[in-house]
Amino acid sequence: MSAKSKQVTSVAYSESAIRNNLSIVEYCRTSMAALSGCTAGILGLTSLYGALFFVCATITVWLMFLYKAGFSNWNKYFISRKSLLTSGFYGQLFTYILCWTFIYGMVHVY
């Protein structure tokens, strides 16, 4: 195996910067889940429409992250663009459902 065929470019990442970025992302996504849950509750979405709304909100926030980091140089701030979209999906889904059902009950049932 020659050295030419196996060129691995290793990049040193700053751990504290990664942690800082991921904590910002986590903060935004958690508040996004809660707020889009409230919005879905106000709109009175039921069943699969609510799930669809959550997926739309997740994608919107992902695009907003990319917008904030810059569409062309997002890899200066994040290692993976895909994990930015999918990480913690189910955890946030439960936050979303909690707010959704609560606000739906407050607005439309009582």
Partner: protein, 105 residues
């Protein structure tokens, strides 16, 4: 931290709260007039969605700025002469001074 994102966030929260109150009012109006609920009025839907976007934008700006994750981010435009200039390692009186031929005094 800037004040502007917080103002945006506050406006968004007030707007979504107002939309929620409007929806409640619409529901009670339907209940009093014994009408069937089909969907919310369009203006309430639009206001809710717009205030969600406003709040998202505010949260994104309140949360702080991203940092560049490359470890060598600040070092790229420094020369080696600048970089190795460490004052703690300066030597003023080296022991080789006593055996140096062309050392003055």
């Amino acid at each position: 931290m800037a004040v502007v994102p917080k103002i945006i966030l506050t406006i968004g929260f007030f707007s979504i709260f107002h939309a929620a109150l409007s929806a409640v009012q619409h529901r009670s109006y339907l209940r009093i007039n014994e009408l069937q609920f089909t969907r919310l009025p369009t203006d309430i839907i639009v206001q809710t969605l717009i205030s969600l976007v406003i709040i998202m934008y505010g949260v994104l700006n309140v949360a702080g700025d991203f940092k560049v994750i490359k470890a060598s981010a600040g070092l790229d435009n420094k020369s080696w002469e600048t970089f190795r200039n460490i004052t703690s390692f300066y030597t003023f009186s080296h022991r080789g001074r006593s055996i140096a031929v062309d050392y003055e005094s």
